[in-house]
């Protein structure tokens, strides 16, 4: 009867203030039975990683539409490595051009959910990829 509830950190890194997508996804994940810790806006990489540690999340979902992803994501990964959080599933969404996607995936972002994604696909992906 042991059932782990999947815990997801939904974070808005950087200065981007558009949270419609992040909030819709948070709700969709909640409706799928997950526990979602929503961090709010203007998160620094330090805040995101520390919250992920304390909340012991299975997934970090990063939502960014400001184009600052190629700067912010490496910082986050660097901190995750320092804290030895290598078993965490990292996914991202927002406005991320196709040509950056390969580089981000090499960095460790498991999947990037661009505009038009069905939230059910995100739910399935998380369920399939969380240990």
């Amino acid at each position: 009867m042991k059932k782990s509830r999947i815990r997801v950190l939904v974070a808005k890194p950087g200065l981007d203030g558009h949270d419609r997508g992040a909030k819709v996804i948070a709700r969709a994940l909640r409706d799928a039975g997950m526990e979602v810790i929503y961090t709010g806006l203007r998160q620094t990489p330090e805040q995101i990683v520390e919250a992920a540690v304390q909340e012991d999340v299975n997934v970090i979902g990063l939502s960014i539409l400001s184009g600052a992803h190629m700067y912010i994501f490496p910082k986050i990964f660097h901190l995750l490595e320092e804290r030895k959080m290598t078993d965490i599933l990292i996914i991202a969404g927002g406005i991320i051009p196709a040509e950056d996607i390969t580089e981000l995936k090499n960095m460790g972002v498991k999947e990037i959910f661009t505009p038009g994604t069905d939230t059910r696909d995100i739910v399935e992906f998380i369920k399939a990829n969380v240990a």
Binding site: M1, K2, K3, S4, R5, R7, A26, R27, L29, R30, D31, A32, G33, M34, E35, V36, I37, Y38, T39, G40, T44, E46, Q47, E50, A51, V53, Q54, E55, D56, R83, K84, M85
Partner: protein, 318 residues
Amino acid sequence: MNLSDEIRHGNSRAVAKLITMVENDFQQAQPVLKELHPFCGQAIVIGITGPPGSGKSTITDRLTKYLRKMNKKVGIIAIDPSSPFSGGAILGDRIRMQDLTTDKGVFIRSVGARGHLGGLSRSTQAVVKILDAMGKDFIFIETVGVGQSEIDVIKVSDVVLLIVMPGMGDDIQVIKAGIMEIGDIFVVNKADRDGSDKLIAEIEMMLHLSEKEEKWNPPILKTVGTENIGIDLLWKNVEKCIDYLRTSGEMFQRRKNRTRKEIYDLFQESWREMFFQLIGEERLEKEVEKVLKQDDDPYHAVKRLSVIFKKNLFKGGE
């Protein structure tokens, strides 16, 4: 270093992992909790409860910052309701405590009220222990406090703060349902709004009518959490309360009750788990079918199941 050592050294990751274990697989967590037990008992546990929107997270945030100035270490357990449909939850209390995330002396854990096999109370008590053993001087438990399980959780605290705000209208009824009796300090937050004096008068009246035997007169304080107004006076009253609890022996009594409750909850949970283990889903299902078909009644069903239970229990020999 093993897990309990890591925790006593203040390793956040270890603490977080054990908390997860407590929520998902208590049996696995128990041995570690056992190791931590001797190192518990230092931290003062403060319950913060009240209707939604009254400013609990903000008050918790402000009190924590106040304590941090005095170099005290703080743990925060923020409990939010879970969806009755999916069991999931959006845990948003951290948003109101942003600055505290990167403060090394603070540990915040968001908890969904339904996120636990085995009851919120058992889980929360274990988390309190973990944060205690981690070295926290003060532990805040923050919860809306509607519903029995959340009220139970508040009872785990040494001191209970009830946060309300003017303009709640009928929500004042929510306060009556079980929380009035356990509130040690009443806080009228957002006191800059209209109706704060009226609210204080209402609370005074309710306190007057309720029959409390203790010699502690719960103070009613005004705060404006977002402006950091009234926080130091609030803390002074918390300290006064702690003093009173210690000198009057009330603290000892409360902790006794807490320990009794802890043992009871653990016991109840272990028996509940055993019920499913020893009876088995199939057998239970059979009985359920019988009762539904009006072939039998639930009382006989329980008698039959008890026989099986006892038989398997002694077979197992634990």
